[in-house]
Amino acid sequence: MNYVRPKATRLFSAAAAVAAALVLAGCAPASPAPESGSEAGTPVTGGTLVYASGDAEPTCLDPHVGGNYPQALVASQYLETLYTKDASGQLIPWLAEDSTVSEDGLLRTLKIREGISFTDGTALDAAAVKANFEHLLDPETASSTGFLALGKIASMKVVNTTTLELTLSTPDSSLLESFSMPWVAIESPTALKRSQEDNCAAPVGTGPFKVESWKKQDAVNLVRNADYVQPVATEGHDGAAYLDAITWRFIPEAATRYAALQSGEVQIIDNAQPDTIAAAAKTQTIKHLDAPRPGASNRIELNSSKAPFNDASVREAFIHAVNVDASIDSLFFGTAPRSYSPLSSAEPLAYSAESLFAYDPAKASELLDAAGWSERDAEGYRVKDGTRLTLTFPVSTSQSIPAEQSLFEQLQATAKESGFDVKIKLLDLSSWYGELFKNDYNLVSAPYTKVGPSVLSVLFHSDSTIPAPSGYFANLSQVKDPSLDALLDTAGSTKDEAERKDLYSQAQKKVLEGYYLLPLYDQQNHFLYSEKLRNVGATTAVATPTFFDSWLAN
C-alpha cells in the first residue's frame, strides 16, 4: 500500500524533532507520487532494471566533479548524503545523526552515524566526511555545484570518530539543505585517494547499489550492495535492495527512448516529453512519475539592466501581454501546472502571487502608452523616439525542451498583438552563454536546481550580477536592490525559522511585484516506467528517483 518510500519513520522521533526545529514544519509540499493507486503484490528479489536516460552521458560518475543533474540521477543509486528529505518533504538526517549550531551561527557540529561502511569496507566516520569536504573544496577536483554549497566552511576539525566541527565564515541557514544534495554526497575516503580518473569511473559510496563497470556511450552497470544497511529504518523493507542490478543506459532521442520502453527493452525512462506522457496515460502498461525539481521554478527573467526593461512599467506590460496559460495548456497536455512563484512547488517556502500575472492586453496597452511607447510602426510594433519595442530572447536548445521552445514562440505571437517585437534566437549552450555574458538579451529562461530557498540569493542578490571568471552569472534579471539584498542576507544567516520564512516570503514578493520574472511552471522532471516495475516514487532531496524499494514483477 505504501507506494512512496518514506525515508524516516515516526519511530525515529529524535531525528524528526531535530529536523522540525531546522525546517519549518507544516508546509511540506506534496511529495512525488505515482499517478496510479496501490500496487499489490509481494516483492520479488532479483532481476536487472534497465534505466534509459535522455541526458548527456556524464563525463565523470563522481558528482563532486563539476556537479550536474545527470550525475545526480545516477549517483543517487550508489552514493548517499548526510541529510535527505522524507516523503513529506521534510529535511531529515541520513548519514548524519544529528547537528547543532552555536549561538552566533558560526560553529556547526555534525554527529555522524555509527556502524555504516562504504562498499570498499572503509568505515564511515567524521574523518571520512572531512575528507569528502576537503575533496570538494580542492580546486583540483573542479567541483562547481558542491564547491558553492560548501563555500562558507572556513575550517574543519575532527573532534572524535563521530563528531565533526565546522567553522563557518558567515552563518549559513541553508547548510543542512546543501548537505542533502547528491553533489555533496559522501564517498569512501580510501577511494577518493585514487586518481581522479579512477574515481570518476567508479566512485565508492554507501548506497544500495555500487558501480560495477562503465562502458562509455553504452551503459553504467550497477550491482546490488549485498551488505547495505539503511541509515534510518523506513516503512519499506530491510537489508539489501530487491533488484540484482541496474543497467543505466543513455538514449538521447526522446522517441527512441519511449519506443524502447514500449517494447520492454527498458523499464524506466527519464526526460519524458509532454506528448509521450499524454500517450502513456492512455495505456495500462506505462505509468508516470512527476517529480518537480527543487530550487527555482522555470521562469522567464526580464533583464532590468537595460532598455526597455529598465522601466518597471514596460516589464509589467510585457507580463500582461503574453497569454501563458493557454499556451501551456495546449503544449504540455496538462503535465505542467502553472507556477506563480520564483521557487519550485517542491520548496516549502515558495510564495505565490497569482494575481500579478493575469493575461490582460488592455492593461498592457495602457501601461505602454503611459510609458511613451504609444506609436506603432507599419508592422504594428510599438515605437518610441524612432526605436522599435524590440526584445531579444536567446533560447538554449539544450535547456529548453521542444514544447518549451514552442511555448516561447506562442508568447512571441501574443506579445506581438500588444506591439512587442520579440526576437527569439535558438542557440547551442556555448553561444547562449555568450549572449548572456555580452548582456545581449532582454528575456531569458534558465533552470536552477538547488535544495532550499537560498536559491533566491543565487538568482536575485546583486552579488550574483558579478560574473564568475568563466563569465557565468546567475542573477539574469539583474535586480540590484539593496533592500532585497538585506532581506536575502538576513534570511540566509538567521537561526530563527519563522523569521527565515518571513524574510524569504518578503524577498519573493519583492521580485514578483517588481515584475523581474514571469514564472511558468516547475522544473519539469518526468519519468515513465513499465507497470512491471513496482514501488517507484522514492526520490532524493533533488527529486532523483531511488530504487532501493523497487522490484520487477514477473
Partner: protein, 325 residues
C-alpha cells in the same frame, strides 16, 4: 598480346605511373588532413565561449579563476594562437592527438573504442546498399518498362528520405507496432538491423539509379549484342557482361558513399543510441571538446581518403580501359 609476356621496357613506365599515382594520392591525402585540421582549429574557436571552460565541465561552469588559469596552462591555451596552431599541427604530425577535454582520456584511446562499432555499421550498410542496388538493377532491367519505372520510383524515394525520418518510421513499424526488432542498439545482431537498414536504404537508392542506367545502356551495346550472337543467354549477358559495367559507377561512388555513411552515422548512432564516432562527434562539438572533435574529423577524413584510393584501385581492376588511358 598475352599479358604474361610483358617486357622490361613495358613494365618500367607502368611502375613509374603507379609510383606517381601513389605519390599523388598520398600528397592529396596529406593536404586534405592538413586542411581539415586547420579548418577545425580555427572553426571551433569562432564559437563563443572559453575552451578552458570545456575542460572545467562545459559551458556555464562556475569554475574559479585559479582553476581556469590552471586548465589554460595545462592545455597550452594561454599561448598565442599561432603558437597553439603550429604546436597542434606538430603534435598531430607526430601522431599525438592529445587528451579529450571532456573525457580526460587520450583521444587515440577514445577513437580506438569508437572506430570499430562505426566501421561495422558503415561497412554493413555499404554491403547491404550494394546488394539492394544490384538486385534492384538486375530485376528491373529484366522486367521491362514497367519494372524500370517502379524501380526508378523506389530509388528516387529512398534516396531522398532523410535518415532521422526513416529511423523513426522503422522504429515505429518494426519495434513498436510489430515488436520484431529492438528499437535501440543491443549487443545482439538484431540490434544492428534497423541502424544498418536506415543507413543503407538511401544509399541503395543512389547506387541503384546509376547502376540501372549503366546496365540498361550496356544491355543495348554492341558487346552485349555480340555476346547474344554467340548464343549467350539473356541472363548470362546481364550477369557476365552488363553487370561489370553497371558496377563501375557504383565503385566510383563508393568513396563518396562511405563519406555519406559517416555523416549519416551521426544521426543514426544518436537515434539508435549506438556507441560510435558519429555520436561522440555530436557530444564533443556540444562540449567544445576540441581535441576529440579534431580527432574524429581527422579519422573520418583519413578513412575517406583511403576509401577513395581503394575505390580508385577497384575501378582500375574492374575496368582495364582506365589503365590504358
Amino acid at each position: 598480346m598475352s599479358t604474361s609476356t610483358i617486357s622490361r621496357q613495358r613494365l618500367a613506365p607502368i611502375l613509374g605511373r603507379t609510383a606517381r599515382w601513389v605519390l599523388g594520392k598520398l600528397g592529396g591525402g596529406i593536404f586534405v588532413l592538413w586542411a581539415v585540421a586547420t579548418a577545425i582549429f580555427f572553426g571551433i574557436r569562432m564559437i563563443p565561449g572559453d575552451p578552458a571552460e570545456a575542460i572545467m565541465g562545459g559551458p556555464g561552469s562556475q569554475a574559479s579563476a585559479e582553476a581556469l588559469a590552471a586548465a589554460r596552462a595545462e592545455y597550452g591555451l594561454d599561448q598565442p594562437l599561432y603558437v597553439q596552431y603550429f604546436s597542434q599541427l606538430w603534435r598531430l604530425a607526430t601522431g599525438d592527438m592529445g587528451t579529450s577535454y571532456s573525457l580526460k582520456t587520450p583521444v587515440a584511446e577514445v577513437l580506438g573504442e569508437l572506430i570499430p562499432p562505426t566501421l561495422v555499421l558503415a561497412v554493413l550498410a555499404l554491403v547491404v546498399a550494394w546488394a539492394l542496388a544490384l538486385v534492384l538493377a538486375v530485376l528491373s532491367t529484366r522486367s521491362g518498362a514497367v519494372g524500370t519505372a517502379i524501380a526508378s520510383g523506389l530509388e528516387i524515394v529512398s534516396a531522398a528520405v532523410p535518415h532521422f525520418w526513416l529511423a523513426s518510421v522503422l522504429i515505429m513499424l518494426f519495434a513498436t507496432a510489430l515488436g520484431w526488432l529492438p528499437p535501440v542498439s543491443t549487443s545482439t545482431p538484431a540490434g544492428l538491423v534497423l541502424p544498418v537498414i536506415t543507413l543503407a536504404l538511401p544509399l541503395a537508392g543512389f547506387l541503384g539509379q546509376v547502376m540501372r542506367d549503366t546496365m540498361a545502356r550496356a544491355q543495348r551495346s554492341a558487346f552485349a549484342l555480340s555476346a547474344r550472337a554467340r548464343g549467350e543467354s539473356e541472363i548470362g549477358v546481364l550477369l557476365r557482361h552488363s553487370l561489370r559495367h553497371a558496377a563501375l559507377p557504383g565503385i566510383a561512388l563508393s568513396g563518396w558513399a562511405f563519406g555519406s555513411l559517416l555523416s549519416g552515422a551521426v544521426v543514426v548512432e544518436s537515434i539508435f543510441a549506438r556507441p560510435g564516432l558519429g555520436r561522440s562527434l555530436l557530444s564533443a562539438v556540444t562540449a567544445r571538446d576540441i581535441p576529440l572533435v579534431t580527432g574524429v574529423a581527422l579519422i573520418s577524413a583519413a578513412a575517406y581518403v583511403v576509401i577513395m584510393a581503394l575505390s580508385d584501385i577497384a575501378e582500375r581492376l574492374a575496368d582495364p580501359r582506365i589503365q590504358a588511358s
